[in-house]
Amino acid sequence: MNIRELVKNDILIFDGAMGTMLQQAGLPAGAPPEVWAMERKDVLLNIHRAYVEAGADVITANTFQANELKLGDIPVEEAVAFSVRCAKESGARFVALDIGPTGQMLEPMGSMTFDEAYRIFARQMICGEKSGADCIIIETFSDLYEAKAAVLAARENTSLPVICTLTFQEDGRTFVGCDPVSAAVTLSGLGADALGVNCSLGPGELLPVVEKLLAHSVPPVIVQANAGLPRYRDGETVYDITPGEYAAHAFEMARRGVRILGGCCGTTPEFIREVKKAVSGVPPVNRQVKYAGAISSGVRTVFLGDGVAVIGERINPTGKKKLREALKNGDLDYILGEGTDQAEAGCDALDVNVGLPELDEPAVMARVTRSLHGVVNLPLQIDSADPAAIEAGVRACTGRPIINSVNGKASVMAEIFPIAQKYGAVVVGLTLDENGIPPDAEGRLAIARRIVETAGLYGIAPGDLLIDCLTLAASAQQDQVMETLKALRLVKKELGVHTVLGVSNVSFGLPAREIINATFLAAALGAGLDAPILNPLSERYMEVVESFRVLSGEDKDSARFTQKRGGESSSPAQAPQAGGGLSLRDIILQGRREEAAIAVKSLLETLPPMEIVTGYFIPSLDIVGERFEKGEIFLPQLIRSADTVKNGFEILRERLKASGEEGGGKGPILLATVHGDIHDIGKNIVKMLLENYGYDIIDLGRDVPPETVVEAILERDIRLAGLSALMTTTVRSMGETIGLARKKAPGCRFFVGGAVLNPEYAQMVGADFYARDAMESVEIAKSFFK
């Protein structure tokens, strides 16, 4: 019988700590335990045997860090094979291949890529299966995204059951911020055979985490706690509960529905013996699991149907010139700004559409999705007509995403549902097919029913579908508006699905569109709409949503509404005035960020945009820059003035684009933080100042490989590029980047900057100019482009 079958009826007992036992046997701190034990097989075998004798059903092979980053010269295959065989030799009923985290932070917080982590795990797993492991346990992860890489590596490269556990802290989250609900719904979606928690805390402290896992995990839950809280005694870590106490907690957990128990740091065979005694014979518990309709970012989970879930529509290039350009230029900053603005406006999920014919859509989708997770904590909706882009997007998501969309066409469902099934995504289903949109509610219900039935074949529950009954324009098909709402009520009632609707179509061709949209939104919410797709920056729509939440009872005691709107009637919001008559020059000098836009708008009534740049922005910035150089103001003051100009520039750009004139138009200048370095505040400051002076900036971001810099130089015919590095260790990449460019793109000149740089270093890496600070890069650009 395999493990998948076994846990259906029996409680499964894992072994306890390996590290604790090896340290007791003399493992020096900092030495890789896998290598150390290879030279001491008897030590390892004795530990395994002690756990077998104590009653463990599953013995965990000593492979936690048997990966290419930690093993040094020893091939992964050799280390994994040795450790798995040793575990088997102990007489274990089952052997688990142990997979720990890589020890490096993944993008975007760190520099390791998902694909690299995946490859490292896959190498261990392929070998583990070959060596005879019966299952894989992925454990002690803090980053749900890294855990996802490991689970996918296991599922795509082996046929072994996969168990995955994260480690939570006292605040109920992992170090990376993942909460147990997000972990449970995400790992359930990815098809883990069991999921749970290990390490970090004692079993008593873990109980609240375990209860959340039990409430939201589809597969069985596993708990491997520490032997109490770690305490320091004479500089050493000790744990403070006895095997008996540990077993009492284990019994309590089994009674609540935990099916797999073992131990982590500080536990010994004695603990496992007691646990085995305590829990054997505890019957399976019928858990109530709340899973369908859960969407998650890995740090925040929203349950569709629990209330209104607003999906922000702004990351979509259709009809948005600025976003289209940002996508074409790889300007992530702008796109991420659209994400943070919508998050701040209070939406609950973000739609992500990057479909432009000239782009490598799957690659861009993955990059945008990945980066969005770094700045907003909202679940994402991956929106594309291209199945490859959809898969790239959902793969790059940390939590449980929504796929937008399938429809009633069999061919579309056959392409998209397997992706949704594999990654555990929620799916939007449009009620249209080969014959278009049925004119009546019954027709749309029939298509929705077909979608639900087909989804069922892939194991996708109705609650994991968001049916879109499609909004039509009132100006063209007035009778259709109410038909859509009728269909919405019908599909909800008949099929048990959730519903989604883009609202803004309804007003197409009419004046004052926001008014129509807002009224339609209110009507749709009244009809039971779960997830409106809208522009959350429209105050009017959010007012409808917020007030509906009061009326529907979702906003308990109107608390959120009162908090946000309380006192509003007494003091109408004051629009910022242009500084009591301050000139734009003074606004910039004083860094009055909020006032720049108004002052620029009023100047635009009499002046052409470029004259504002040359007559106001640049002279004022020159004064600020000079004050900074003289030490009369310090960095935050310089930056506030720069930010003020930036706000003013936004207004100018809109005007310039509208009139067909080009933007700043000077340059272009390429900027990048070099490979291996993820400190980019300095680079961002330089970017802001250069943009203020009217230069077009191509910002490649941080941790940029030399090849990428050179490609961009060649592609865009760049003549001046700026590189930043903060660490002595990454200054080397600066030299490599410039060296490569000298060979392949000799026409480009480089300026460099960053905390550890000085004129000597700059010369050493082969740079043409050294920028001591951000103002100096402006001087360099000015004299270069003279």
Binding site: G103, Q104, D171, F175, P230, Q590, G631, Q637
Partner: protein, 215 residues
């Protein structure tokens, strides 16, 4: 030094006039930092011995190379390795704030640097009290990257302290720690004599050129 003064020092402040906007940002940054940071720390004490190529840390596979650390730990019988962090949430908040209001982002980043130093100072004071109660003098703390102690010892120090599991600190191939506001330190324990107690800027080879030097 107060958190306020330290925050300003990290911003390169040289006595310029602070307007209401700066005063406000300063207060807000320090308060936000207090709210968002999740300080965590871990340390272990070891015997120290002379090893080929540097000072050996007993019971581990770590050897501390270089003249500077030898000078620091000269005559010490024991050594404490420690790591302190403010957590990943703060990194996220700093980059978010920088995006929203760059000037305030700088204040928050600087305040976070002041916070992590303060957390290190606090740990050092506790370790000093503890050392004194056991009859030891404590050296000042020293970190990888200071003087001729290479950053390349960072991964091993983190491994020995098991920081990934204990406090969530990891390190990239170019030795950048995540979370950003994390510090590792080496502190010596001496039974016989107090080590020279200068502040950490004196004796540094950049003491005359560094913009962040302490007064």
């Amino acid at each position: 030094m107060s958190l306020r003064d330290e925050t300003l020092r990290y911003l390169g402040y040289r006595g310029q006039e602070l307007g209401p906007a700066e005063e406000d940002a300063l207060v807000r940054a320090i308060s936000e930092c207090g709210k968002i940071s999740k300080p965590a720390r871990v340390w272990r004490e070891f015997e120290l011995y002379n090893a080929p190529g540097g000072l050996g840390v007993g019971g581990t596979v770590l050897t501390l190379p270089g003249k500077d650390v030898s000078r620091l730990l000269c005559g010490c019988q024991r050594v404490i390795l420690s790591a302190v962090t403010l957590g990943l949430g703060l990194d996220r908040e700093i980059s978010l704030q920088f995006r929203r209001d760059a000037s305030f982002g700088l204040f928050l980043d600087a305040a976070a640097s002041a916070f992590i130093e303060e957390a290190c100072d606090r740990l050092e004071a506790e370790l000093r009290d503890d050392a004194q109660s056991r009859g030891f003098f404590l050296s000042r703390r020293y970190s990888p990257g200071y003087g001729d102690l290479p950053l390349s010892v960072q991964p091993l120090i983190l491994e020995i302290l098991d920081t990934g599991r204990r406090i969530g600190v990891t390190c990239s191939p170019s030795f950048i720690m995540t979370p950003r506001k994390s510090v590792t330190a080496i502190t010596g324990l001496n039974k016989d004599k107090p080590p020279d107690a200068a502040n950490s800027c004196k004796g540094c080879d950049k003491q005359y050129s560094c913009p962040y030097r302490r007064p």
